[in-house]
C-alpha cells in the first residue's frame, strides 16, 4: 500500500474512462510525433541530398520539377539540353565543378543515371563490393536496389524506357552490375549509376546518333570520350558547384536570360516546396493540438466528476490520518499518471506506426524514413504532458483540499 498503488487502483477501478482519456491524449501526441519525425527526417534527407549542389541546370520548365527530378529523383525530367551548350556554360569561371546527368531509363522502378564518378563522390559514396564502372553498360547500384532486386556483382539486366515500370524494355543491350555501394542514406541507395554513353547506347536504335568513341578531335570537357561541340548529343541536366558565393547572384540570371536552359537553386526550391507542404502540416498539427485539448478537458471532467463520489472517500481518508496536502497530491498524481500513460502510449503509437509504414509502403521506404529515430523533442513532449496532467487535476485537487471533512461525513 503506497501512494502510487492508491492512485493506480483508482484508475483501474474505472478502466473504460481511464482508457478513453489516455487514448485521446495518445492520439494527439502520436499525430504530433509522427509529423515531427517525418518532417525532421525529410529535412535532413533533403539537405543531405542537396548538399554540395548549388545549382541545377536543365531544360526550361518548372524549376521545382528540375530539382525534384535531378536531385531527389522523384519527378520526371523537364527535357534535354544540348551537350554543346552545357559545355559552353561549364567554361564559365564561376563554376567550380559541373556533373552531367542523363536520365530516362529505369529498372523495376529504380532509375538508371548516366553520369560520371563525381556524382557518387558528391555524396561520399563508398563501394561495398566490386568497382566503379569503367566501360559503357557497366553499372554500380545502390544498396536498396541490390537488396530489393536481389542483384549481385556480374548480374545483368535490361533497362526499361521511361521512369515507370510500363515502358518498353531495351532488349538489345544488357547492363552488368560491377559494383554495389554501401548504404549511405541518400538518393544513391535507390539509384543505378553508369556512364552517360550507356544511356545514349540504349537509345541509339531509336535516334540515329554517331558513335561516341572514335574521335581524334578535341575531347569534350564534360565527357572526355565524346567529341567536343558535338551538336547532336544531349544530356538531361548539369549539377553545378559554385567557385564563389558571388556566382549565386550572377550565374542563375545569366543562364536563365542568355540560354535555352534554365537554372534552379535547390535551396530556394526546397524552401518553396516546404512552404507549400507547410499548410498541410499546419492543419494536421492544429488537429493534433485540438485532440490534446480535448483529452485534457476529458481528464479534467473525469477527475471533477469522480470528485463528487470520492468526496466521502477523501473524508474517510482524512479521518484515517491523511493530511490535506497528501490528498491534493493523490489527485494531482492521478492526473499526471493518466497524461504520462497517454503520452508514452502516443510516442509508442507514433514510432510503431512509422516502423510499419516504413516497412510496408515502398514510397516511404525509398525516402529512407524510419520509426527508429528518437528526437530530443520527445522527452520535452513527455515532460509537458506531466505539466498538463497537473494542470487538469489542480482544480479538482484544490476542491478536495478545501473540503470540510466533518460536513461531508455528517451528510448522508
Amino acid at each position: 500500500m503506497n501512494l502510487f498503488s492508491l492512485v493506480w487502483n483508482y484508475l483501474v477501478a474505472k478502466p473504460l474512462n481511464t482508457f478513453l482519456n489516455c487514448l485521446l491524449l495518445a492520439l494527439g501526441i502520436a499525430v504530433i510525433t509522427i509529423l515531427l519525425l517525418v518532417q525532421t527526417q525529410l529535412m535532413t534527407k533533403i539537405s543531405d541530398n542537396a548538399k554540395g549542389i548549388d545549382l541545377v541546370v536543365g531544360a526550361k520548365g518548372s524549376p521545382l520539377q528540375l530539382i525534384l527530378c535531378n536531385i531527389f529523383h522523384i519527378d520526371f525530367p523537364t527535357g534535354n539540353i544540348k551537350l554543346a551548350e552545357a559545355e559552353k556554360l561549364v567554361r564559365n569561371k564561376m563554376i567550380k565543378k559541373a556533373i552531367p546527368m542523363a536520365l530516362g531509363d529505369s529498372h523495376s522502378g529504380y532509375r538508371i543515371i548516366g553520369t560520371n564518378t563525381d556524382y557518387p563522390q558528391l555524396y561520399h559514396a563508398v563501394l561495398e563490393q566490386g568497382d566503379w564502372w569503367k566501360k559503357s553498360l557497366e553499372v554500380v547500384i545502390g544498396s536498396q536496389v541490390a537488396q530489393q532486386l536481389q542483384l549481385s556483382i556480374n548480374d545483368t539486366f535490361a533497362g526499361t524506357h521511361g521512369l515507370s515500370n510500363e515502358g518498353d524494355v531495351h532488349e538489345g543491350h544488357h547492363y552488368r552490375v560491377v559494383g554495389i555501394m554501401k548504404k549511405n542514406n541518400t538518393v544513391l541507395d535507390n539509384l543505378i549509376l553508369g556512364n552517360i554513353e550507356s544511356v545514349w547506347l540504349m537509345h541509339q536504335e531509336e535516334s540515329v546518333s554517331p558513335s561516341p568513341t572514335d574521335s581524334s578531335l578535341l575531347a569534350s570537357t564534360l565527357l572526355p570520350a565524346v567529341t567536343a561541340v558535338d551538336s547532336t548529343m544531349e544530356i538531361t541536366s548539369l549539377l553545378i558547384q559554385y567557385r564563389s558565393p558571388m556566382a549565386a547572384i550572377q550565374l542563375p540570371r545569366l543562364i536563365n536570360s542568355q540560354s535555352n536552359m534554365q537554372a534552379a537553386s535547390p535551396a530556394f526550391e526546397t524552401a518553396r516546396l516546404f512552404s507549400i507542404l507547410g499548410v498541410g502540416v499546419e492543419v494536421l498539427n492544429g488537429f493534433a493540438y485540438v485532440l490534446i485539448v480535448i483529452a485534457a478537458l476529458s481528464i479534467f471532467i473525469a477527475l471533477y466528476n469522480s470528485l463528487k463520489e470520492r468526496r466521502y472517500d477523501m473524508a474517510i481518508m482524512r479521518s484515517m490520518g491523511a493530511t490535506r496536502t497528501r490528498l491534493l497530491f493523490t489527485t494531482v498524481l492521478e492526473g499526471i499518471t493518466m497524461t504520462v500513460i497517454g503520452s508514452v502510449g502516443g510516442l509508442v503509437l507514433a514510432h510503431g506506426a512509422l516502423m510499419i509504414i516504413a516497412d510496408t509502403v515502398s514510397e516511404v521506404q525509398s525516402t529512407g524514413i524510419t520509426g527508429f529515430l528518437f528526437l530530443p523533442v520527445e522527452s520535452l513532449l513527455l515532460s509537458a504532458s506531466v505539466g498538463l496532467g497537473a494542470v487538469c487535476a489542480l482544480l479538482p485537487a484544490i476542491q478536495i483540499y478545501r473540503a470540510d471533512i466533518s460536513k461531508v461525513l455528517a451528510s448522508n
Partner: protein, 213 residues
C-alpha cells in the same frame, strides 16, 4: 484520558450547542445516547478532532485538540483513533485487504501484513481479503470497516450509529464484536446511537438532550 470542559460548538447556521462536561477513562466503553439532531455526531466529530472550532476544552491523552496544528492533528487522529461510520463507507477502488492496509499507510505506520491477516482472520474475512469491496454483503462490509478501524491498534474507537440498520441478531453480533476488539486492543470504545437496544450492553451512558439554543 478524554475529558471535556464547558464544551460548546457554533454551527454555521449560527445555532450553538453546549455539552455537559464528560470524562472517559482509558479502556472504558461509553455510549452517547440521544435522538437524531441531539448533537451526537457533532460531539463525536469534536472528540475525534474532525471539528476543531469549538469553545471550551477537549483533552485527549492530555492534548488540547484545537491547539494541535492541523497536520499534527491529522497524524494524531491517524494513530490514536479508529472510526466506524454509519455507512461503513469503504474505498470501492480497493480490495478488502488494501482497505485495511490503508489504515497503516495513512497513519504513517509501517505496513504490517501479519497484523492485517490476523485481524481479517479473527473477523472471518480472511478468504475475502482479495475480493473487491463491492462484492461483499452488508454484514461483511461492516466487518471490514471494523477491521479497518482497529488494525493499527488505536487507543480510541469511535463508532457512529453502527447498529441502526441491523436487525436484533446482527445488532448483538456487531456490538459483541466491537466490545471484543476494543478489549483485545485495550482501546476506549465510544458509540453514538439512538438505538435503545444498546442500553443494556454498555453501562456508561451519556445522554444528550436537544440542547440547541
Amino acid at each position: 484520558m478524554i475529558s471535556t470542559t464547558k464544551l460548546a460548538f457554533n454551527y454555521p447556521s449560527s445555532d450553538s450547542i453546549h455539552f455537559n462536561d464528560l470524562e472517559i477513562a482509558p479502556r472504558e466503553d461509553c455510549l452517547l445516547l440521544g435522538e437524531s439532531g441531539s448533537g451526537k455526531t457533532t460531539l463525536l466529530h469534536l472528540l475525534g478532532g474532525l471539528l476543531r472550532t469549538y469553545q471550551g476544552s477537549i483533552k485527549v491523552n492530555s492534548n488540547e485538540l484545537k491547539e494541535l496544528p492541523e497536520k499534527e492533528m491529522d497524524f494524531f487522529r491517524g494513530k490514536q483513533y479508529g472510526f466506524v461510520f454509519q455507512k461503513n463507507h469503504l474505498i470501492h477502488a480497493l480490495t478488502v485487504e488494501k482497505n485495511v492496509l490503508l489504515s497503516f499507510y495513512l497513519a504513517n505506520l509501517p505496513i504490517n501484513m501479519e497484523r492485517m491477516k490476523e485481524v481479517l482472520d479473527s473477523l472471518g474475512l480472511y478468504n475475502k481479503r482479495k475480493s473487491r469491496v463491492t462484492q461483499l454483503s452488508y454484514g461483511q462490509a461492516q466487518r471490514v470497516a471494523i477491521a479497518r478501524a482497529i488494525v493499527h491498534r488505536p487507543s480510541i474507537i469511535i463508532a457512529d450509529e453502527p447498529t441502526s440498520a441491523l436487525d436484533d441478531q446482527n445488532c448483538n453480533k456487531v456490538m459483541e464484536l466491537l466490545l471484543q476488539v476494543a478489549s483485545q486492543n485495550e482501546s476506549t470504545l465510544i458509540v453514538a446511537t439512538h438505538d435503545q437496544r444498546l442500553k443494556g450492553i454498555i453501562k456508561k451512558q451519556i445522554h444528550l438532550h436537544h440542547a440547541m439554543r
